[in-house]
Structure formats: structure tokens, C-alpha cells
């Protein structure tokens, strides 16, 4: 076990964990940040997607020691002062979920996508989100939600 300082959602958290333990395990099992989900443990489903310095990363494949020092943003960190981020609001508006278990990963992945490509085409959305699985099959609505978020962000209003 090593002592670590993690910068998560704007807070500095001190904890003890195994250096090679996954960031996902630390978030969920040591910090009770359970919004980030376990789906496969091998980077194939995207349910555990978090932002590391703004870039989408699979928390299940990221050793916690590698994330120390980086700015970690989880689904819990996207809402600001009770105001949903444009992507969160767009998912809500489009009803882009069924069971919702993939939703955290989808929203975080879409957040990173829109940071890099503020006005993505459908093909760009599909290509970028293809690593995220929704077993309920809500993909068409998720694409619509990402497009809506893009428009909302362009208007500079998260409502």
C-alpha cells in the first residue's frame, strides 16, 4: 500500500491504496464514488470512463498511481453548483437511457468528445463513442443527445 493524493472533482483526497490497483477500484471501493461503473474490467465497454486532465480514460485500465497528479473528473464532478453540464442536460432532455448503467461512461466520453470536437458529425460521434456499450440499445438517442449538447454548448446555455 502507498499513500496517494488524488485530485478528484476539484478536491484533493488523501488515501492509501496499492500502487497497481485500478483507478476504478479506488474510486468505487475506497472513495465511494460509485457513479463510475464497472462493466468489464478490460476497457471494452466504457462504463468506467473518467476524464484525466480532460481526456477520456478507462478507469479500469488506469493504475491509480498513474492518475496521481492528474486532474480527475468523474460523473459526480460534471454538475456545477446544482447546474447540469450541457451533456448531462441533453441526455436528460432526450431520455437517452433505459437502465442508465452505461450513462455515466457515455456522458463522460461525450464530454471529452465535445471538448475536442465541439460540432461533431454523426460519423464522428459513432467513431468516438463506439467503445462504449449500451446493452439496452439506446444508441440512436445517445447520438441525438450528443448533438443536442453540442448545440446547447454553442449557445452557451445549459439551461
Amino acid at each position: 500500500m502507498v499513500n496517494l493524493v488524488l485530485k478528484i472533482n476539484g478536491a484533493e483526497l488523501h488515501l492509501s491504496a496499492a500502487a497497481e490497483e485500478s483507478l476504478l477500484s479506488v474510486l468505487r471501493n475506497r472513495l465511494n464514488l460509485t457513479g463510475t461503473k464497472y462493466g468489464c474490467g478490460e476497457g471494452q465497454c466504457g462504463a468506467c470512463t473518467v476524464l484525466l486532465d480532460g481526456n477520456a480514460a478507462r478507469a479500469c485500465l488506469t493504475p491509480v498511481s498513474a492518475a496521481a497528479g492528474m486532474k480527475i473528473t468523474t460523473i459526480e464532478g460534471l454538475e456545477q453548483n446544482g447546474r447540469l453540464s450541457p451533456v448531462q442536460q441533453a441526455f436528460l432532455d432526450e431520455g437517452a437511457f433505459q437502465c442508465g448503467y452505461c450513462t455515466s461512461g457515455m456522458i463522460v466520453c461525450a464530454t471529452a468528445l465535445l471538448r475536442e470536437q465541439p460540432h461533431p458529425t454523426d460519423d464522428q460521434i459513432v467513431a468516438r463513442m463506439d467503445g462504449n456499450v449500451c446493452r439496452c440499445g439506446t444508441y440512436p438517442r445517445i447520438v441525438d443527445a450528443v448533438k443536442r449538447a453540442s448545440q446547447m454548448a454553442a449557445k452557451g446555455a445549459a439551461r
Binding site: L33, G39, E42, G95, C102, V133
Partner: protein, 713 residues
């Protein structure tokens, strides 16, 4: 609207919530009896529902289903569970409608065995057609009781009063009271009245609308707690050692290294070998350090699947026989005989099986993801030989199931580990465990022979399903001579329920065969179907799908094929038109139009999500999903090897929902999955002339024992 909003009990942070039972809970809310003057008669359940109660009598008392607090908060109790099908929302809409309150006034408590009336489970598309009317009738009765209560209080004729917006009012100014003022938080002791008038769907104002998902904000902020998110004070993390293969026996176990690990406990309790540790990381390491040797017996593999089904055919009698298929076949001008093979597939819900178990003074509480909370409660009671009253199962809205979470495996394992450890234990299955130790959608072998006249009249239809099941096995097409039989067989794998059950396999075989027969007759596939149909609902969805799709407007080419399929099951009718693109050997589904009718629509937005989602999920089983098994081992227990539908597999989806306010609402969770595979297969044939008779039709790797497909996807 979620369990989390439940006062006193669920809103409390895990760790401080007291273990109130239902009686204490009602007492806490105010346990006095509220007697009102209603001539309500006892109403058990609608007859002819085929054992909805499953031997359990459903409570007749309104108070078992509903509580109205003094502040007007309305809580509804049901044993049905929310797994993504949006039933929490649509049931609340139905109750709000009949009770004459706003949607937001209602909180649903679901799937908590200490708080809700017994229920057999959430499956078979039964919630909307059965629990829906039960709750509507209950709410309508409650509304009558509230009016009667106000009438008694004001000493006026109840007929002069009416209920709206959570209030009872009369012609006089003083005659106005909110429901909370009327009940003062006390129980409504009247019973559910079969004569309480239900609001016709044509008059619905809350039901029938696109109410957004209850508590949707919790899902976009990561705040909703799924079963695998539950945390209890002092909780340990558990892991279970899995054998090397199915039906294995343990030869030896060396746990000496693990016994030395700090905080780790090795649990060896009968057939269960597991570990508990203070953190998940240590539990994983401890599991990895257990040294076990197993003996795995020889077992059938994919390539022996069909042979196994035939050899172990349990016989039995046909479900349906009319006329003589033999005689009709002998005389018919056009005949066809074909075989269809359906592989085992996995549900692969994104949230794997998970449970948190806690023992307190001999009472067991388990939070787990299951479609059958009461079934799991009974499994737990039986596993520990304790009364069911000593077991509480709580089902937080879960990361879905698709028919895959009927059993309580993880719950029992967590409870055994927790008992041994003397502390609460969380157990979350890995993806590999989920792919291996859960149960599978059955594989199957289907044989169909049929005959038709030159004018397209069906003359004979014989359908045998080996192993996969009898859901939707009967044909909706009029045929004088029929023999339809399901053959139970010995499954080489543990198999169980799945969205739509065998309706997918039976529709694939039937609708592929109908298409083949249409081509043999020389008729347009839609025209051929319509010629042999009289069910107006099925005809209507065929017309609706065909119109939206533009069926017949363009001819298929070698690069672009159009296919159609349809059917009826579980009270719903579906027709699916698919357009596929063929590039070399690669198939891509480009566009799908699916028309749907399931009676009166309770929530069109939720219905769209279900019917469209089922269609997308169907792509996997249609084109590439297959469990590879060999000698008691699963060959592809990871998403890297077991392909599931992704964004890039998803076609343009257009749904046509036909609303029939004159018909009862049927369930919509399942039948949306049945049309895609045959429609796509038929489209591939239309483009290429190649008929695919095995599911999956275009797998990543050839499935052993099934003829190789010329296509990939």
C-alpha cells in the same frame, strides 16, 4: 421517485437507516385506522389471468398498496422492479391518473420484500397488463374511499363530491380538503373494489403521455445507487472461487498463502469456496492466490449441440394439431422443408450480478439485482433454513437483466460469505463470471415443413422446436393443416429466461420460412403474408411498417436488399422492415422500420425506448452473438471476444407506434426483439439469393457445428 426518496427508510444514508419492517414503518407514519364508509367489495384479481398470484393471494386492502401521508405525499408499493423498462414511471402515471393527482405527487416503492405485497417477479411482459390494472383499480377504489370519507366528514351525499388535483371538493365553499387532510396520514382500511370505475384510455391525461423517466436526474449525475453501488458500514469485499469448468469436482485446495494475508478470511462452506477482505483489491489478490485443482468431466460442445438436442428429446405431445399435415403435404403443389439452428447467447447486462448481504440478529438483508425479489428471498430462506420472514431482499433499480437475473446466485453467495465473516459483504461478479456462471438464452434446433397452393394459400405447416422453447411457437397465419410441437431436451449449458424467450428463435424460423415459401410461390413476401392473415392487428402493423418503409417501391439489388417479417406475442403485434447493404461479404443493416401495437399506450416515450432498444439488442443475436462452449468451458467470456451491438452496428431506426385506446395495454419489454433477425435474413436473401438459416447469421468466427456463413458483419 426512487427508493432513495422514500422517507425515513431509504433516504437515510446507508449505515444509518434503521431496519424498519413494514408494520413499524406504517406505525412510524401514523398507525391509526381510518375507517371510511364505503360499500366496497373484496376484489382479489381479475379472473382468467393464468395464476397472476402464483398461489399467493394478492392483498385486497388498499393500504397494502398505497399510503397517503398527512402532507399529501403518496407512496405506492409494488413487488415489480425497475430494470430500465421504465415501469417505475408508467405505473406511477397509471396510479396518478386514477387517483387524480399529479405524476410528481407519487413515489413508488418497488421490489423491497419487507415493504411491498408479494409478487412473482418482473418478467413475461406481465407488469403492464397485470400490475397496471391492479394498481389502477386500487387507485380508483382509493379515490372512491377518499370521496366517501369527505362525504362522511361533511355529512353530505358522496355523489355531490368529486376528486381532482389531490383534493376532494363539493359545491359548497367549505367543501374542499386535500387527500392528506382527509387521511391525516392514517391507513385507508377499505378494500379494492371491482366496481371502482377505471378511466378509459381515451380520457387519460397523465397516463398516455410522454412523462420523462422518474428520477432521470439521478441517472445523469451518477447519484443513483445500483445494487453494486450499495455500501454498508464495516462492509467487507468478497470473491468466490470458480471451478475450471462446468460440473467440475474439487481435487485439492491449498489456501495456506491466503490464510497468511492480513484481514483475509478463507471461506470453505460446502461447495462454496471464497474469500473476504477489507478491500476489493486485497480480495482479488487473495482469490488469485488460492491454489485449486479441479476435475472437469467431458461435456458437449457447440458442435454437438444439435445432436444433443435430438438425442435427448423428451418427446411429449404437440401443442397444436389441426387437419393432417401428411395428407396436405402429399397433395400440395409447392412444398418446403428446412432446418434452423439458434446458438446460445448471453444476456450480458452491463451491471453484472451483485449483492450486498448483511446479517443482523439472525435477520438477513440483501441488496441485489434481481427480477424476482420474492423468489430470491425464498432462495435465501431455503439456503439458510430460516423463515422467509427473516429475510429481506431489496432491489435497487438495476443495470438491467433482459431475463438474465431471475436467480439469486450472487445473493446467496454474498449471504454465505457474510455469515462466515460476521460482517456485511459485497460481492460483484466479474464480466468473465457473468459470461460463464450465469445462465444462457437457450440454443435450439427448429424444423419446419410447409406447403402452399399456386395462389399462395398456405396448405400445411409443421413446426418443431428442440430445446429453445415454445414462446410464440404457434403461427398467426391461417393454415388448415398444422402440427406444432416443442421438444424439451437436455441442455448442455445452464439455460433460462431471456427477453422474448424463444419467440426470437421461433419467429426467425417461421418468418424466414414464410419468406422462402413466398419466393417459391412467386409472390411478394408481404402480399403472401397478408393473403394468409386475418388478425386485423397484425395486418395493421404490416401495413404501417410497409407504408413507412416504402415497401415495394424499389427492387432489391445485389448490394441492397429489403426484407420484411412480423408476428404477435404477449399481447403485442410487430412488423419489421429492414434494408441491408452488402459490400463483398460484409453485411450492414442500414435502415429498419418497426411498427408496433400493444393496445393503449401508457407512455409513448418509454414505449419507443423499449421497442427501439429491443430492436438494437436484436442485432447481436441476429448477426454475431454466440456463446462458444467446449467441454464445460466458455471460450469467449469477454466483450473483446463476445461481440455485442455497438453504435457502429446501429441502423437508422424508425418506429411507428399504433395506439389502440380501445384495447387493454399489453407489455412491451420483449416482443420488440423478434422481428429484426428474420427481416434482415430475408433482406440478405433478397439481395444475394443466399438464404441464411442459422442465428447468428454473420458471426465474427464460424460457430462450430453450424454451417459457415458466407457473410461477416
Amino acid at each position: 421517485m426512487s427508493l432513495l426518496d422514500f422517507p425515513a427508510l431509504e433516504r437515510a444514508e446507508p449505515g444509518v437507516s434503521s431496519q424498519l419492517d413494514r408494520r413499524d414503518f406504517l406505525k412510524a407514519l401514523g398507525g391509526g385506522l381510518l375507517v371510511c364508509l364505503s360499500g366496497a367489495d373484496g376484489f382479489a384479481q381479475e379472473s382468467g389471468r393464468g395464476g397472476f398470484g402464483g398461489g399467493h393471494e394478492l392483498p385486497k386492502e388498499i393500504s397494502a398498496w398505497l399510503h397517503i401521508a398527512a402532507d399529501g405525499t403518496i407512496t405506492v408499493y409494488t413487488g415489480k422492479v425497475e430494470v430500465g423498462q421504465n415501469i417505475r414511471t408508467s405505473l406511477a402515471q397509471s396510479v396518478a391518473e386514477e387517483l387524480r393527482v399529479s405524476f410528481s405527487a407519487i413515489a413508488m416503492v418497488m421490489g423491497d420484500t419487507d415493504l411491498v405485497p408479494w409478487d412473482q417477479g418482473t418478467f413475461g411482459s406481465q407488469t403492464t397488463p397485470n400490475m397496471g390494472p391492479q394498481l389502477r383499480r386500487m387507485a380508483a377504489s382509493a379515490r372512491q374511499s377518499l370521496i366517501a370519507l369527505a362525504a362522511a366528514r361533511w355529512n353530505v351525499d358522496a355523489a355531490t363530491l368529486s376528486a381532482a388535483d389531490g383534493k376532494v371538493t363539493g359545491p359548497q365553499k367549505y367543501q374542499a380538503a386535500t387527500y392528506g387532510e382527509l387521511t391525516r396520514g392514517e391507513k385507508l382500511v377499505t378494500t379494492i373494489s371491482s366496481s371502482a370505475p377505471l378511466t378509459p384510455a381515451s380520457d387519460w391525461k397523465i397516463a398516455g403521455t410522454a412523462e420523462p423517466k422518474a428520477n432521470g436526474r439521478e441517472f445523469v449525475t451518477g447519484k443513483h445507487q445500483y445494487p453494486s453501488d450499495i455500501v454498508r458500514p464495516g462492509m467487507l469485499f468478497g470473491k468466490v472461487l470458480r471451478p475450471e469448468g462446468f460440473n467440475a469436482t474439487l481435487v485439492s485446495l491449498d489456501s495456506s498463502e491466503v490464510e497468511k494475508m492480513a484481514g483475509v478470511r478463507v471461506v470453505h462452506d460446502g461447495d462454496l469456496i471464497g474469500v473476504t477482505a477489507p478491500d476489493a483489491w486485497t480480495a482479488e489478490r487473495a482469490l488469485g492466490a488460492l491454489k485449486a485443482k479441479w476435475s472437469v468431466p467431458a461435456q458437449p460442445s457447440n458442435k454437438e449441440m444439435c445432436e444433443t438436442f435430438k438425442q435427448t428429446d423428451g418427446g411429449g405431445r404437440p401443442q397444436h394439431v389441426t387437419g393432417s399435415v401428411d395428407q396436405a403435404m402429399a397433395a400440395a403443389p409447392i412444398k418446403l422443408e428446412q432446418q434452423y439452428v439458434i446458438q446460445y447467447i448471453a444476456h450480458a447486462p452491463l451491471e453484472p450480478r451483485a449483492a450486498v448481504a448483511e446479517w443482523t440478529d439472525g435477520k438477513l438483508t440483501v441488496w441485489t439485482g434481481t427480477q424476482r425479489p420474492f423468489g430470491v428471498r425464498d432462495e435465501l430462506a431455503s439456503a439458510f433454513n430460516i423463515p422467509a420472514t427473516q429475510v429481506r431482499v431489496i432491489q435497487p433499480d438495476m443495470g438491467s437483466g433482459y431475463g438474465g437475473k431471475h436467480q439469486g446466485d450472487a445473493a446467496v453467495e454474498a449471504a454465505r460469505l457474510a455469515k462466515a465473516a460476521g460482517k456485511p459483504v459485497k460481492l460483484v461478479w466479474t464480466r468473465e463470471e457473468e459470461f460463464t456462471w450465469a445462465y444462457f438464452r437457450p440454443g435450439g434446433l427448429i424444423e419446419i415443413r410447409s406447403a402452399a397452393d399456386h395462389d399462395g394459400t398456405l396448405l400445411a405447416w409443421e413446426h418443431h422446436n428442440y430445446n429453445s422453447g415454445n414462446a410464440a411457437i404457434t403461427t398467426p397465419y391461417n393454415t388448415a393443416n398444422q402440427l406444432i410441437q416443442y421438444h424439451a431436451a437436455k441442455s448442455p449449458l445452464r439455460q433460462g429466461s431471456y427477453r422474448g424467450l424463444a419467440a426470437t428463435a421461433n419467429h426467425f424460423a417461421r418468418e424466414s420460412h414464410m419468406d422462402e415459401l413466398a419466393h417459391a410461390v412467386g409472390m411478394d413476401p408481404l402480399e403472401f403474408r397478408l393473403k394468409n392473415l386475418t388478425d386485423p392487428r397484425l395486418i395493421a402493423v404490416y401495413h404501417a411498417a410497409a407504408e413507412k418503409f416504402g415497401w415495394g417501391r424499389e427492387k432489391s439489388t445485389p448490394q441492397r436488399g429489403f426484407g420484411i417479417a412480423g408476428g404477435a406475442d404477449k399481447g403485442a403485434c410487430i412488423a419489421t422492415c429492414a434494408e441491408v447493404e452488402i459490400a463483398g461479404t460484409k453485411v450492414r443493416i442500414k435502415r429498419v422500420v418497426q411498427a408496433w401495437e400493444s393496445g393503449a399506450i401508457v407512455n409513448p416515450d418509454g414505449l419507443r425506448n423499449q421497442v427501439g432498444g429491443a430492436l438494437v439488442q436484436a442485432i447481436g443475436g441476429a448477426l454475431f452473438e454466440a456463446i462458444e462452449f467446449s467441454n464445460g468451458r466458455i471460450g469467449n467470456p469477454h466483450f473483446a471476444q463476445y461481440r455485442v451491438p455497438r453504435f457502429s452496428d446501429t441502423p437508422q431506426v424508425e418506429l411507428v407506434l399504433l395506439n389502440r385506446p380501445d384495447l387493454p395495454s399489453a407489455g412491451a419489454g420483449e416482443t420488440g426483439i423478434v422481428g429484426l433477425a428474420p427481416a434482415v435474413g430475408n433482406a440478405i436473401f433478397a439481395a444475394t439469393g443466399t438464404r441464411l438459416r442459422n442465428m447468428p447469421m454473420a458471426p465474427l468466427n464460424p460457430v462450430a457445428g453450424a454451417p459457415a456463413s458466407p457473410f461477416t458483419s
